[in-house]
C-alpha cells in the first residue's frame, strides 16, 4: 500500500510539474464556464432550474472530453515508460508490478478528479454567484454529474492501461486509444441508432436495448445523468429513451465500476506476466 501511494504521489508530482494538471483543469473550467453562460442563453431567465441546464450541456461535453483526456494520460503509462527506459529501473526496485499499475491508476484518477471538481465546480459556483436560484435537488444532480464524470474517467484510464500493456510501441498505443474513443463515444451510438431504426422494434426488446446500452460506458454515463430523476431528462431529449430503458442507478453505477475493474485487473495480469 505504501508503494502504491509513493508511485501515485510521484505521478501527481510529475503531472503538476509538466503542467498537465493545470492544462486539464483550465480546459475543463473554460469549457464549463462558456457552456454555463452561453448555454443558458436559449432558456433565458425564465428557466427555473439554471443548474439543470448546465448539467445537461456539461454532461454532453463530458461524454466526449473526459474519455479523451483519460485515454491521453493513460495510454502511455506502461508502454511510454518502458520505451523511455524508466520502467526497467523502477521494476528493479522492491515494488511489484501490480503496485506500479495501481499506483499509477490512483495518481491519474486523483489528477482527473481534481481537474473535474475544480473545473466544473468553478462553473457551478460562478452560476450561483450570479444570483441564479439553485435548489438542493439541482445541487445533488450536479454532484452526481461530477462524481459520475470521474467514474467515467476511471473507466477510460483503466482501458488506456489495458491498451498500454498490450502493445510494444507508444504510437500503436495512441492509435488504439483513439480507435477505442471513436468506437465507444461516437460509432457505438450511431450503429445502435441505425440498428434500432432498421429493426423498428421487432427484434430488439426494451430489455435487450438496456443490455446493449450497458455494453458502452459512455451510454451508461449518459443514462445516469441525462435520463435521471431530475428535470434534466426533460431538457436532454433523453426522456423518450429513459421511458423505455429502465435501469436502476445502482445497476448503472455497478456497470461503470465493472468497466473500470475488469480492464484494470486484466492490465495488471498481463503486465505482471510480461517480460521486459
Amino acid at each position: 500500500m505504501r508503494n502504491v501511494l509513493l508511485i501515485a504521489a510521484k505521478e501527481i508530482q510529475e503531472s503538476l510539474r509538466n503542467r498537465w494538471v493545470l492544462a486539464m483543469t483550465a480546459l475543463l473550467a473554460a469549457l464549463a464556464l462558456s457552456l454555463t453562460f452561453l448555454g443558458s442563453a436559449p432558456t433565458g431567465n425564465v428557466g427555473a432550474r439554471a443548474l439543470d441546464v448546465v448539467i445537461v450541456s456539461l454532461s454532453s461535453l463530458t461524454i466526449f472530453l473526459v474519455p479523451l483526456v483519460a485515454l491521453l494520460i493513460s495510454h502511455d503509462a506502461v508502454v511510454g515508460e518502458t520505451e523511455r527506459g524508466t520502467m526497467l529501473l523502477l521494476l528493479s526496485y522492491p515494488v511489484s508490478r501490480g503496485q506500479v499499475l495501481f499506483g499509477k491508476f490512483t495518481g491519474h484518477l486523483a489528477i482527473l478528479a481534481f481537474a473535474t471538481v475544480l473545473g466544473y465546480g468553478t462553473a457551478a459556483v460562478t452560476l450561483a454567484a450570479t444570483g441564479a436560484a439553485i435548489d438542493a435537488r439541482s445541487w445533488m444532480a450536479f454532484a452526481t454529474m461530477i462524481g459520475t464524470s470521474i467514474l467515467l474517467g476511471a473507466v477510460f484510464i483503466a482501458i488506456g492501461y489495458l491498451v498500454s500493456v498490450l502493445v510494444r510501441e507508444r504510437a500503436t498505443a495512441a492509435g488504439i486509444a483513439i480507435g477505442v474513443w471513436l468506437l465507444l463515444v461516437v460509432v457505438f451510438d450511431m450503429a445502435l441508432l441505425g440498428v434500432l431504426v432498421i429493426d423498428q422494434g421487432r427484434l430488439i426488446s426494451p430489455a435487450a436495448l438496456s443490455g446493449l446500452l450497458l455494453l458502452n460506458p459512455a451510454d451508461v454515463y449518459r443514462l445516469l445523468n441525462l435520463a435521471g430523476a431530475t428535470s434534466a431528462s426533460a431538457f436532454s431529449g433523453m426522456s423518450g429513451l429513459a421511458g423505455t430503458v429502465s435501469l436502476a442507478p445502482a445497476l448503472l453505477l455497478s456497470a461503470l465500476a465493472a468497466w473500470t475493474l475488469v480492464p484494470l485487473a486484466l492490465a495488471a495480469m498481463i503486465f505482471s506476466r510480461r517480460e521486459l
Binding site: 508530482q13 524508466t86 529501473l89 522492491p94 517480460e275 521486459l276
Partner: protein, 304 residues
C-alpha cells in the same frame, strides 16, 4: 558462505532466438566481476535474469537467496542496478528522483545528500534532470544504484558516454564498494579499463559462457604470448636479434626497438639473455596479453 548469485544451466529463449544458452556461474560476496561480450552477446539478458525482469526458459536463477522473478521483493532491497543508457523523468529534479527511489527502498531520505555529494551532483541536485548532461545523468544513475548500501550491484555498460576523468571517479566509487564487501558486476565491451579493476572475468559470446576466471587464469588457459619490447641504440637492432638467438617472432621497429612474442617459458630465457647483453640494451618492457587479446582469443576459439 553461500553464493550471492547462483545461476544454474540457465537458458533464455525469445521465440527462436537463444539469448542465453545453458549458462552456469556463482558469484561470491565481495567479488568484482567483469561481464564481457559483444553487443547482443547476452550480457543484458543475463542481468535481466538476475533482476527477475525475465524468467529463464530453462534452468534456475537465485539472487540473494531468492528467485528474483518469484515476486518477492526483499532481495531487491539489497540490490542496486544501473541500466544501460539510464533515463529519468526530465521534469523532476535529481534530488526528487533520488528521494522517490530511497522511499521505494524504505531507506531514509536524509541519506541522499551524502550520495549526491559522493557522485558530485550536490550543486545540480535541485535542477531539473532535463537540463543535465549525459555524464550527470549517468552520475545520478550511479547514485540511485548506491541507495541503501546494496550487497549486489549490477552495472550495465556503466561508463558508456563518460569522459575519462569521470571514468576514473566512477571506478574509484566501485572500488570503495567492493572494499566494503559488495559484489559488483560490471558489463562492458571497453575492456582495457576493466582489466585493472576486476578480479574475475566472464566472457559471453552468442549466449554461451566461453570463459570464466581471473585474468591470470585466463592468460594461462589461453597460452597467449606476452610481448617483450627491447630498445637499443639506433642501428643496433640486428646485433640484438643475433644475441637473443634470433627468435622467429622478432620484429624490428625504426632500427632501435625489437619486439618479441614469447610464451611464458621463452620469456624467462629471453630476459636472461637480455641481462647478459650488457650496455647494448637501453630499456625493456614486458607486456602481458591484454584483456582485449584474451577476449579475441576466446571468441576465435568459439567461432572456428
Amino acid at each position: 558462505m553461500t553464493a550471492l548469485v547462483d545461476i544454474a544451466h540457465a537458458t533464455k529463449r525469445y521465440g527462436t532466438l537463444e539469448a542465453v544458452r545453458d549458462i552456469s556461474f556463482a558469484l561470491e560476496p565481495g567479488q568484482t566481476v567483469a561481464l564481457v561480450g559483444h553487443n547482443g552477446a547476452g550480457k543484458t539478458t543475463l542481468i535481466k535474469l538476475m533482476l527477475g525482469l525475465v524468467r529463464p526458459t530453462e534452468g534456475s536463477v537465485r539472487v540473494l537467496g531468492e528467485d528474483p522473478a518469484g515476486g518477492g521483493t526483499e532481495a531487491r532491497r539489497q540490490l542496486g542496478y544501473l541500466p544501460e543508457s539510464v533515463s529519468f523523468n526530465t521534469a523532476l529534479t535529481g534530488r526528487e528522483v533520488l528521494a522517490f527511489y530511497a522511499r521505494l527502498k524504505s531507506e531514509p531520505v536524509a541519506g541522499i545528500q551524502a550520495l549526491l555529494d559522493r557522485v558530485g551532483l550536490a550543486k545540480a541536485a535541485d535542477r531539473r534532470i532535463g537540463t543535465y548532461s549525459k555524464g550527470m545523468r549517468q552520475r545520478l544513475g550511479l547514485a540511485q544504484a548506491l541507495i541503501g548500501t546494496p550487497q549486489l550491484l549490477l552495472l550495465d555498460e556503466p561508463t558508456t558516454g563518460l569522459d575519462p576523468g569521470l571514468r576514473m571517479e566512477f571506478y574509484e566509487i566501485v572500488g570503495e564498494l567492493s572494499d566494503r564487501g559488495a559484489t559488483v558486476v560490471l558489463s562492458s565491451h571497453v575492456l582495457t579499463e576493466l582489466e585493472e579493476r576486476t578480479e574475475r572475468v566472464l566472457i559471453v559470446s552468442r549466449g554461451h559462457l566461453v570463459a570464466d576466471g581471473t585474468i591470470d587464469e585466463l592468460r594461462r588457459i589461453a597460452e597467449l604470448p606476452a610481448k617483450v619490447r627491447v630498445s637499443v641504440a639506433p642501428g643496433e637492432a640486428e646485433r640484438l636479434r643475433g644475441l637473443m638467438g634470433d627468435p622467429a617472432s622478432g620484429r624490428t621497429f625504426n632500427g632501435h626497438r625489437v619486439e618479441f612474442d614469447v610464451t611464458p617459458s621463452e620469456k624467462i630465457e629471453l630476459l636472461r639473455r637480455a641481462a647478459g647483453a650488457g650496455d647494448l640494451i637501453r630499456d625493456i618492457d614486458v607486456v602481458p596479453p591484454s584483456l582485449d587479446e584474451l577476449y579475441a582469443h576466446f571468441l576465435r576459439k568459439e567461432t572456428p
